[in-house]
């Protein structure tokens, strides 16, 4: 197998019935399998679950995958999950692409299975096209200033500041008014304990 051959694994998630309810996931998997660059296409019940992630890891190793496409929910939810999953077996995390067939497909076309399935295929095709050109990236690291700013000195700000300070961090608490306390300072007794507020 040549070094630079693209070998993409596509993992189509049913998300229980969240996706499978309005998208024919087997049809999507079958379609994905025949896209250029795809070495393997698998259907899972819950790809983000531990068994689902294990399956991805195993497939990367067994099928020498060098790109992964997960067709499931929005990358805003599980991109970090799957990036970590693939890097656990040595694949650069930037070699992952997600195809959002839940929030932007199955959930918004609940009553047209045919159209939803066709769209899901298209979304996967677009993701695979992008995945073919993904490149490994090296992340830069930046130092962390060991101090926190809390804006607002009501009961929430006070608690956050105390927790952070008790844990050993320097805290700056900025309060707009001449005194901290917020609304709670104006209360006489408070529910549910019926005790005094300050």
């Amino acid at each position: 197998m040549p070094e630079d051959e693209v070998r993409i694994g596509v993992f189509v998630c049913e998300c229980g019935l969240n996706i499978a309810g309005s998208v024919d996931c087997e049809a999507v998997r079958d379609y994905a399998e025949r896209l250029p660059g795809v070495a393997l296409a698998v259907r899972n019940r819950y790809t983000c679950s531990d068994p689902g992630q294990e399956e991805i890891k195993k497939a990367i190793v067994e099928h020498h995958l060098n790109r992964v496409v997960v067709a499931s929910c929005t990358p805003r939810l599980h991109e970090p999950t799957f990036r970590k999953c693939i890097s656990d077996v040595g694949l650069n995390p930037y070699l992952l692409e997600m195809a959002n067939i839940r929030e932007q497909c199955s959930w918004v076309h609940l009553h047209d299975r045919e159209a939803a399935t066709a769209k899901a295929k298209d979304i996967v095709k677009i993701a695979v096209a992008r995945a073919r050109l993904l490149e490994p990236q090296v992340e830069m690291e930046v130092p962390v200033t060991k101090a926190a700013l809390v804006i607002g000195g009501g009961v929430a700000g006070i608690q956050a500041a105390l927790d952070l300070a008790d844990a050993g961090h320097q805290v700056y608490l900025v309060e707009k008014e001449p005194s901290i306390g917020g609304k709670m300072a104006q209360l006489n007794k408070t529910f549910p304990t019926m005790d005094c507020s300050i």
Binding site: R76, L77, Y94, N100, R102, E103, Q104, V108, L110, A116, D122, K125, I126, V128, R130, L133, L134, V138, E139, M140, E141, V142, V144, T145, A147, A148, L149, I151, G152, G153, G154, V155, A156, G157, I158, Q159, A160, L162, D163, A165, H169, Q170, V171, Y172, L173, E175, K176, E177, P178, S179, I180, G181, K183, A185, Q186, N188, K189, F191, P192, M194
Partner: protein, 597 residues
């Protein structure tokens, strides 16, 4: 509160406001204006000698204006920092002829009329936003007579009246005659759960607050008759149902139905409340000595300032938006910034405290690391193509591109740590010399080609930014809003990344409609990168028009992360537009652009 004042690792900056924030997670630089108090905070012992001599009398805000204070005052006795302050706008004046009495009286010499605002510069790794809320002002609800009848008060005023530290020193009485009362009523949901005036949401705390008030009254004044007018009583928290039951068992009358009108008997100053009791199905009239409006909570009016300083988003209600309603309830869209308390939505003290501890724990994940990784989405410059024009440096919202000089032909250099990865520089480079890592030109072209390879005329190309419009698309899904299946979305971090090249390529490949979408101006996660998006789209509209291509086929829409409705509506509208684009038009566009591009 006292603990904060005493803690060796907490520096309290009271009477202060954040004015500027720059930097990024782990490395924020913050400028705070510490306003002049005119009393030395460290030296003042809060003896109060100064107050006695001050001739200026003003309503006391802490007591909701129910009693008065002087121009030099302490907000409330337990205030932290424990120091007096002069309201300089109310103060008669510095000069001894004008006044200056307090300064004369203060033996310690803490009063300094020349004190100036200070700018304090801080460096921090994380930020917690806990700016809280405001209490609804019932003035617009005229039918309850809040502004017309003195014996109609709000629950916050009630708190002050019944408090032993309040204006009546705990001797509860009604405002008009200072007499003990026999009958009191509470109206629930004032300013909340209303479609027309006030806010549509439930304010969360007002039911239990009234239950609490009813029990306090019962304990201290068992002879008072208490009636509560409500829509639903929401006693959902731990121990809440028990309190509600205690209140009912103690004889508090709960009447289901909100009064339509409140009148005052001008002689007795008693209040006449008409209400449709929906449980008993009858119209009732209640005569009361005092009426308390159970007001709800609102986002602070000045939320916008903090929102802009930290590039946050807000929900349509106006409260700050969390990263994810279930899984990331205290994170925000800006990495390293967290939410706590009512800033995020109406809640009680326990929930505020719980959320604050959660935010502190999340913040510590960052603070406990020596280094944190930054996403590899910075620009790469091809120095063979670059002509040193300097446009990239000009458009970068973060000043992350430096050195470039067209006259002396010095090439640009990227400061990676300062770059936030918006991709605007790549989109604006006139010669295509910059591309963004992980969102490369070739990758986006490949997406367009895959998308428009078959039946392009059926598809709508949507460029959406990660933080707002793509998230708005997700929100439409979470809310199960249905829209036509024609849209295909390309996600970039910022709409600023959507270069002319991408849009023109989409049209060349036969796209009937292209949408560029991003955050509303104030919400842009890259300061103002979307201003460049707008200029670019406007430029393209001109260009399309000149080429006799209908500019309406390129749409620009600002959709926030909370606007699932707007996303779905936009998709429906675009679908209507798409149907009107003729095959001839598409063919013509392809030809014209193929010649030009």
């Amino acid at each position: 509160m006292m603990d904060v004042g005493r803690h060796p690792r907490i520096k309290l900056l009271a009477y202060s406001e954040v004015e500027e924030v720059s930097g990024y997670v782990g490395n924020f630089k913050v400028k705070v204006r510490k306003k002049a108090r005119y009393v030395d905070e460290e030296e003042c012992t809060a003896c109060g000698d100064c107050v006695e001599v001050c001739p200026v009398i003003r309503p006391d805000e802490y007591q909701m204006g129910l009693s008065s204070r002087r121009a030099i005052y302490i907000p409330f006795p337990q205030g932290v920092p424990s120091s007096y302050i002069i309201n300089i706008e109310e103060c008669l004046g510095v000069q001894p002829i004008a006044c200056g009495k307090c300064a004369e009286k203060c033996d310690k010499g803490c009063i300094d009329f020349d004190m100036k605002d200070q700018i304090v510069e801080l460096e921090v790794g994380t930020i917690i936003v806990a700016v809280g809320m405001e209490v609804y002002d019932p003035t617009p609800l005229d039918e309850y007579g809040y502004t017309r009848f003195e014996n109609v008060i709000t629950t916050l005023e009630f708190e002050r009246l019944i408090d032993s530290g309040g204006p009546l020193e705990g001797h509860f009485a009604r405002p008009t005659d200072g007499k003990m009362l026999k009958r009191i009523g509470f109206i629930q949901c004032v300013g909340s759960r209303a479609e027309r005036r006030g806010n549509p949401y439930c304010s969360n705390i007002c039911c239990m607050n009234t239950v609490k008030d009813s029990l306090l009254l019962r304990d201290h004044y068992p002879e008072i008759d208490i009636t509560v007018f409500y829509l639903d009583m929401r006693a959902f928290g731990k121990g809440f149902e028990d309190l509600y039951k205690r209140s009912k068992d103690a004889g508090v009358r709960y009447v289901r139905g909100l009064p339509g009108e409140v009148k005052e008997d001008p002689q007795t100053r008693n209040l006449l409340v008409t209400v449709e009791n929906t449980t008993a199905c009858r119209l009732e009239e209640h005569e009361l000595d005092m009426l308390v409006l159970s007001v709800g909570l609102e986002p602070r009016e000045d939320s916008k300032t903090i929102q802009q300083l930290l590039s946050l988003s807000r929900t349509t209600d106006g409260f700050f938006l969390e990263s994810h309603p279930k899984l990331k309830p205290v994170d925000t869209s800006t990495r390293g910034v967290f939410l706590a308390g009512c800033a995020e939505g109406p809640k009680d003290i326990k929930e505020s405290v719980t959320q604050a501890s959660a935010a502190a724990a999340r913040a510590q994940i960052i603070l406990n690391q020596d280094k944190i990784p930054i996403e590899a989405i910075t620009p790469i410059i091809d120095y063979d193509l670059c002509n040193f024009c300097g446009r990239c440096a000009r458009v970068c919202p973060y000043g992350a591109i430096v050195d470039v000089d067209p006259k002396r032909k010095v090439p640009p250099r990227v400061i990676e740590a300062a770059c936030a990865g918006c991709g605007t520089c790549s989109a604006e480079c006139p010669v295509g010399a910059i591309t963004q890592r992980h969102f490369g030109d070739e990758q986006i072209f490949a997406q367009l080609e895959a998308m428009l390879g078959e039946r392009p005329e059926e598809k709508i190309v949507v460029f959406a930014c990660h933080w707002c419009s793509y998230a708005g698309g997700d929100m439409a899904g979470v809310s199960r809003l249905q829209y036509p299946p024609s849209a295909r979305v390309i996600r970039t971090m910022c709409s600023g990344r959507t270069g002319e090249r991408f849009i023109l390529r989409a049209f060349t490949l036969g796209a009937p409609i292209v949408l560029v979408s991003g955050c509303h101006f104030a919400d842009c996660h890259y300061i103002n990168a979307n201003r460049w998006t707008q200029r670019r789209v406007e430029r393209l509209w001109d260009r399309l028009e000149r080429a006799s291509i209908r500019p309406e086929r390129l749409q620009l829409e600002w959709i926030s992360a909370a606007e699932g409705q707007k996303f779905a509506r936009t998709m429906r509208e675009l679908e209507e537009m798409r149907k009107k684009v003729t095959p001839e038009e598409i063919e013509y566009t392809k030809q014209v652009l193929a010649e030009k591009v």
